[in-house]
């Protein structure tokens, strides 16, 4: 894997990327849907400005982890939706175990010894 799974120096960014990729694992979505889904499932912890979505989505698209596709939705006009690529699916699988490991280590450090 040529891309680091988690970048501790920019944890918020890594976290947002992971949330977006995990959300897209369920199927293609429009930008605003991604933000709403994450907010809905996040129980109030992952409320982020929708404007910050675009740099992340475009970066992931450039890296080939997701693929954007324009579709004409009649009176609603053109809409761009994003879906995971095969490379993205493989990456998400690794990402999940990476985050699990990261959180385990994090808890080991912060939890008080009994």
């Amino acid at each position: 894997m040529d891309r680091p799974l988690i970048e501790p120096q920019s944890l918020a960014k890594s976290c947002n990327e992971a949330l977006i990729l995990a959300c897209l694992e369920e199927g293609p979505r429009h930008g605003y849907q991604i933000a709403l889904d994450i907010e809905e499932k996040g129980g109030g912890y992952f409320r982020f400005n929708h404007g910050t979505l675009y740099p992340i989505l475009h970066k992931l698209e450039k890296e080939g982890l997701i693929k954007g596709a324009w579709s004409d939705e009649g009176p609603r006009g053109k809409r761009k939706s994003y879906g995971l690529t095969a490379k993205g699916r493989r990456y998400v699988a690794n990402l999940r175990s990476g985050w699990r490991e990261f959180i385990e280590h994090f808890l080991e450090v912060v939890e008080a010894e009994e």
């Binding site: 429009h30 930008g31 605003y32 400005n49 404007g51 970066k59 609603r76 809409r79 761009k80």
Partner: protein, 244 residues
Amino acid sequence: MTSFAEVLRPLSARLPLPQPARTRVLLEIAADLEDMYRHYRASGLSEEEARLKAVEAFDLSDEALAELVRVHTSFFRRLLDRLSSQAQSRWERGLLLIVAGTLSFVCVHLVLRGEVVAVAGTQVWPTLICGMAGLTLGLIKFYQIHIKQDHELRRARRWLDAIAILAGVQVILGFLVAWFSLYLTARRMAEDVEYAGVHLFNWLVSASALLSVSLMGALLTAMIWFALARRVAGIADAEAALLT
């Protein structure tokens, strides 16, 4: 017409991306803004409240914009930014100057060695200077629009018409100088009747060479202007389609 044009217009001005990337980004945001607005309307908010909430949710911070620009900036563009940045070291600037100077010298040398230019003589200089100015300006605009991809409309349009004017000036200068040299030749013919035919022949050769250089230069300059103007019109159309 998109109902969020007043939000997208200032955003477009803050987004220094080349076309069509800028239009695509704005279209995507516009579509999501409208969907967000519908979502808030469906959740029971009034039109104005839904609109305000949608705009609030999609506010792109300077940091997010910079990140977006960085994502869409190619390696080549980053390299060019580095070359034209203020942060260049002295040796970098010196090297660029030497390369530009050598290229200019070689170009001028090649033009002057051309047979037609030599036959036309010194009278071709005003036309040649105009042609060189037009070509240089054309190259600068080409670099700005196609390589550096600075698609800010006001900057893209600046000096563009000067290229067309220089093309026109080359034609006018060519005919004026040829006409003036005909006057001088006529005087010479009157003073030297015995060789009047020779004088007339010499004028014909030099004037036709001069006009050939003028017209070819004007044609080339006009073609460069046309190609650049079409590209700028395309950029303007792409923005107008989205924002009006």
